[in-house]
Amino acid sequence: MATEEKRKEILEKLRNAVIHYDEDTAKEASNEALNVGLESSDAIFNGLVSGMEEVGRLFEAQEYFVPEMLMCADALYAGLDILKPHVRKMDLGVKGSVVIGTVEGDVHDIGKNIVKMMFDVAGFTIYDLGRDVPLDKFVEEQMKTDSDLVCLSAMMTTTMGGMKKVIDNLKAKNPNIKIMIGGAPVSQDIAEKWGADGYAKDASNALKDAINLVSSLKKLKDEAEAKKVAK
């Protein structure tokens, strides 16, 4: 087993590799973590993901922008590819499944992909419909996979109207479904007006919000189960 000092050193190296978008160091430190017998989930969450959280903060503070974010994500994945096969259990307390995609007419998927990556790292099951997704497809896929959460992205003022249709259709079919929307022209105000349950201001907020939404959904389900049992 690695000493606490060595552990800290490797975690810091992983974290910094992500922050400074250094793929080579991310790989090197991930191999080092395995060699000294560090728990891979420890290396992932307290090293790589902790770095990505800082990246999220830098993004929010407008010190980092999309190119930096993509570079950091590359470093994160470089490490994940090495560490993930060694993870024994990946459990953040919440397991959820999510349907995600960019709405019809809109081919902008960078933001959607960054959010997807955060979900992926957090252990969500993801059904990614890609970009320019026909509006009915969201409803179909949710029904087919019985997912907890549907995430819609749009980058253009000319296409975002499609989100409202998907929200209406989903809620009509399944009133308990949780829906989160995001994208440059979207705001909290619009999310509320259109009946979405969450608004993803950016990727880290999307993840936080998703965990809350799925938790509240699980709670509802548990309560419903408890009632059934009580009867």
Partner: protein, 343 residues
């Protein structure tokens, strides 16, 4: 004064008799309200021109844009496939440049062989002949960084600013040449007096100020320098929050910068007044699409009062408007400006 004179007076930092007002692009809005589709008009110059001319009679904009929504044809003309869709503007199926040698193979001459590009040129000429004395008639194009990113793939362009900056710059430079090639056909014959570029990928929501300075600004400058020689004015729109780079906009060499609703217009005024005419920035979705006419009135008045009383300003939505914006809202927006006298 004609709407055209009102706009150009503002471009020269003077006070026109009333607040100038324009939409930006408006392709989808026009198609939606005239029952046309991008596909049906794609190669029909007369249809395109008739639609624009008849829609201009409703006076929604002092600037009239021909070919709005067809911007991706400029790149596709050189070898990319276009995909039409029920919702949204047609776009490229795949990027057309992966490597430097792909770029070297592209031939600007092929632009004129594209049926849609030719139709846009022809339609612009017809529209200009019909209403060009009254309105500013122009076409639309992506700015160099956005066009380059479409050609290379947006994610690849984003990473390219770090991983292959020289190639990224070469692609954006080529895109600037493509802009010039596209507009030469209109400017050389005196058909248009202003060109229009939308550079949403150069947004403050996507790239940093430094990347903007390195990868977007020099190539915008390349196009504006060309425009200056040709004696045509330049309108540029950049989406998103560009507050951190407002001071760079006067250096662009454009005559007017159109700002997104995310920019604080009071701050924009204090940085830009007298240096470059600025336009904006009523929220196209929350206000124009979702608001009531009285909300539109309130926000429009507030925008004019904050930014427009000293001239050198054009009232615009913060971006292109959704097709579903209620006509009553657009009328409210436009009429406030048209009735607002400046003296």
């Amino acid at each position: 004064m004609t709407p055209k004179e009102v706009i150009f007076t503002a471009f020269d930092f003077h006070k026109p008799p009333r607040i100038p007002v324009a939409l930006f692009g408006g392709g989808m809005f026009t198609m939606y309200n005239t029952g046309n589709s991008f596909k049906s008009l794609a190669e029909d110059a007369k249809g395109m021109a008739d639609m624009i001319i008849s829609f201009s009679k409703r006076s929604f904009s002092d600037i009239v844009y021909v070919g709005s929504g067809y911007n991706n044809f400029h790149a596709s003309a050189l070898g990319g496939k276009i995909r039409y869709r029920e919702i949204g503007a047609p776009d490229l199926e795949e990027p057309l440049v992966n490597t430097e040698s792909d770029l070297d193979k592209l031939d600007l001459e092929r632009l004129k062989d594209n049926a849609t590009v030719s139709a846009i040129w022809e339609a612009t000429e017809m529209v200009s002949r019909a209403i060009g004395d009254e309105f500013v008639v122009t076409a639309t194009a992506w700015g160099p960084f956005t066009l380059g990113a479409q050609m290379f793939g947006v994610e690849k362009m984003m990473r390219g600013t770090f991983k292959s900056p020289e190639l990224a710059k070469k692609i954006v430079d080529f895109a600037a040449n493509l802009n010039i090639e596209f507009y030469s056909h209109l400017a050389d014959k005196g058909i248009i007096k202003m060109i229009c570029l939308a550079d949403p990928t150069a947004s403050g929501d996507l790239i940093s100020r430094k990347q903007f300075e390195n990868f977007a600004l020099p190539y915008l400058q390349k196009v504006t320098s060309w425009a200056k020689i040709k004696g045509v004015k330049v309108l540029v729109h950049i989406c998103g929050d560009t507050s951190d780079r407002l001071d760079l906009f006067p250096k662009m060499g454009a005559d007017c910068i159109s700002l997104d609703h995310k920019v604080d217009i009071a701050r924009a005024k204090s940085e830009l007044l007298g240096k470059i005419c600025f336009a904006g920035n009523v929220n196209p979705v929350s206000v124009l699409n979702n608001g009531t006419p009285s909300e539109v009135e309130e926000m429009t008045r507030r925008c004019i009062e904050t930014a427009g009383l000293e001239g050198g300003f054009v009232l615009m939505p913060g971006c292109d408007i959704p097709p579903t914006v209620p006509i009553k809202n657009v009328e409210t927006f436009v009429n406030i400006a048209r009735e607002w006298k400046l003296n």
